[in-house]
């Protein structure tokens, strides 16, 4: 006979599906996030402060690039392990998860997969310890969902490349030591205009990374631009073996996978805070939790969260078996980020006036989810990715209106 229990935080016992090793990594990440990050989160958000020591702390525990092989400073873990780490960091503040996403998926991953052995040896161990911080430049001021139209250029010159252009909405760029930048390469040959990846170190002449100011969301995560004015990048800093958009998309696919897991933590935290609040607050002589309107809101939340948990787990399982396609990731990123945003908004509402203050934390998550639902492929763009896969007709480019 099985044991029949109802756990309102994990209704379908999804944590049991996670391997013992990955659960231990989850527990370690949870302990770190709750004891070390949670006390700093509200102030970090209010003061737009990312404590640089966090990078070293995370590096010391092996939370950066956990899936990268040990020989390059990672732990050689499963992708599900990466997922559960994201869930625990996001439970506190998506700004911290974003830091790990960028460092792991958008910087360490391309260097590991597309880099030379020298590049791997030179950068990966120091990125894994948090000694150096990376950022990733794809989006441009006029090219967000349509990165193929980027105008940043890399012109072949003696001994290297000359880069010009600007990237924006770049997580970590103001504090980064290393920028992975995607640009259209012009070498005068057959591959003119093909997208290639470049590694630009802080201190390169012509490089600047001004901060994006007045963000109302993800405030503890430093966001900026990467401005390149005749930046000379030596040949050894070009990623050798990748051409076209599949390079940057491979990175985004990994980062989106992290988001799929991360926002589960956000939704769970908002739901748990809302549940605690309505059980404890009495109005009209009865706890809020006894009201039908409140109970159906909680029911909707746990229904969505259960779907999010199981989607995240199954996607991790498929990714660990090397069977996950980009469309699967799009489906889960779209569903989970959208659901987390909605849950955060409803939780904010359930907390009434108290939900307006940062002390109760749900409005912090709610504002963050506006970013997460938008970045790494907007909710709608992932719908179009799925639409293309279902119909085999792309609908990104509007047709029929050109005269």
């Amino acid at each position: 006979m099985g044991t029949k229990t109802f756990n309102s935080n994990d209704i379908y016992h999804f944590e049991e599906l996670i391997s013992q090793e990955d659960r231990m990594i989850m527990d370690a990440a949870r302990e770190y996030a709750q004891t070390q990050l949670e006390p700093r989160a509200l102030e970090g958000n209010q003061d737009e402060q990312f404590d640089i020591g966090i990078a070293r702390e995370m590096g010391d525990l092996g939370l950066l690039g956990v899936f990268i092989p040990e020989e390059y400073g990672g732990a050689g873990s499963s992708y599900t392990a990466y997922g559960v780490i994201n869930r625990e960091l996001d439970r506190v503040d998506s700004a911290y998860r974003s830091f790990v996403s960028v460092q792991s998926s958008l910087v360490m991953h391309p260097i590991h997969v597309f880099g030379t052995e020298e590049q791997r040896q030179k950068y990966l161990p120091r990125l894994a310890t948090g000694e150096i911080i990376g950022c990733y430049g794809l989006t441009e001021p006029d090219h967000g969902s349509d990165p193929g139209s980027m105008i940043t250029s890399a012109k072949k010159i003696d001994g290297g490349w000359k880069l010009n252009g600007s990237k924006t909405w770049i997580t970590n760029s103001p504090i980064a030591d290393l920028c992975v930048v995607w640009a259209k390469a012009y070498d005068g040959g057959d591959e003119d205009g093909v997208i290639r990846g470049f590694l630009i170190e802080r201190g390169t002449e012509g490089l600047s990374t001004p901060k994006v100011k007045n963000k109302m969301s993800m405030r503890a995560s430093p966001t900026g631009e990467i401005v390149m004015q005749d930046c000379f990048i030596p040949n050894e800093n070009a990623l050798p073996d990748i051409r076209g958009l599949k390079g940057p998309f491979s990175c985004l696919n990994n980062a989106r996978f992290g988001i799929v897991w991360g926002v589960v933590g956000v939704a769970e935290n908002c739901y748990q805070r809302a549940r605690d609040y309505v059980l404890g607050r009495t109005q009209f002589g009865y706890p809020l939790a006894s009201m039908q309107l409140i109970q159906t809101k909680l029911a909707n939340m746990v229904t969505d969260i259960t779907q999010m948990q199981l989607l995240a787990w199954r996607l991790g399982d498929l990714k660990d078996k090397d069977r996950a396609t980009p469309e699967m990731v799009s489906l889960a990123k779209r569903n989970n980020a959208g659901a987390a945003l909605n849950i955060a908004r409803v939780a904010r509402d359930m907390l009434g006036g108290n939900g307006i203050t940062g002390d109760f934390r749900v409005i912090h998550h709610m504002m963050n989810m506006e970013t997460v639902n938008t970045y790494e492929g907007t909710y709608d763009i992932h719908g179009l990715v799925l639409g293309r896969a279902i119909t085999e007709i792309q609908s990104f480019v509007p047709r029929g209106n050109d005269q």
Partner: protein
Amino acid sequence: MNILVCLKQILDPEVPVRDFAIDGSGLQADPNCANQMTNIFCENALETALQLKDAHGGKITVLSFGPDSVKDSLRKGLAMKANEAFMVLNNTGHQPDSAATAKVLAKAIGKMEPFDLVLTGREAGDWGAGQTGGLLAEELGLPYSAFVDEIEPEGEDRLILRQQTDSGWNKISAPKPVVASITNSDHNLPRIPKTRDIILANRKPLTSWSLEEVGISEDELAAEQQKARIKLLSIPEGKSDCEFIEGDSLEDKIDNLAERIVAIARSV
């Protein structure tokens, strides 16, 4: 130095009051009402041992008596950098008391290589009896010190145990081998295991013995349990009330508050 650290797995003592439940027997907490975790004082003990090993070398073995789930605590111990892990499987479905636990642990220790130092937590976050360390020392016939928060070698054959007291601490010199129960302090906060060490810990062997294999039968264990039995557990009903103290001035309010406190204290 060869150090043994005993780890107890308990239900998360931080479980919210409204989620805590007693099982149908009325004799123990419902094991499904909270997550299982390693008792924090046992982790303080392991951290104390790890710091001793980091500074002076040696080997650390972790040992637990409990159901199959104690493997999680032992694996975490290995991930924190203990060298070896052993368990005695309790599949009786009952939670042993301190005396029974000490007896089983002593039997297991008898099967292992000799230790210079045996550590337990000060008490466990479930029952808070604080008896296992002392009873284990009695079973092993070894000296014992409680409330220890720091250990240093003293020459080859002795250890200095720093014991917390109400007003400060005692430094006790004890011959090896010795048993100590460890309390928490600022400097033995358990380390969080690193991801790489977690993965390595899952590749290390973990030895599991049955009760019979350590030389104690289920009947003997049951007999031990008969000495002190729990008759019934119940959750006290909490009542809270809120009263506003009035007064014309701050001084009046303070006086009225003081009078009210005295009145309540007298009525209790």
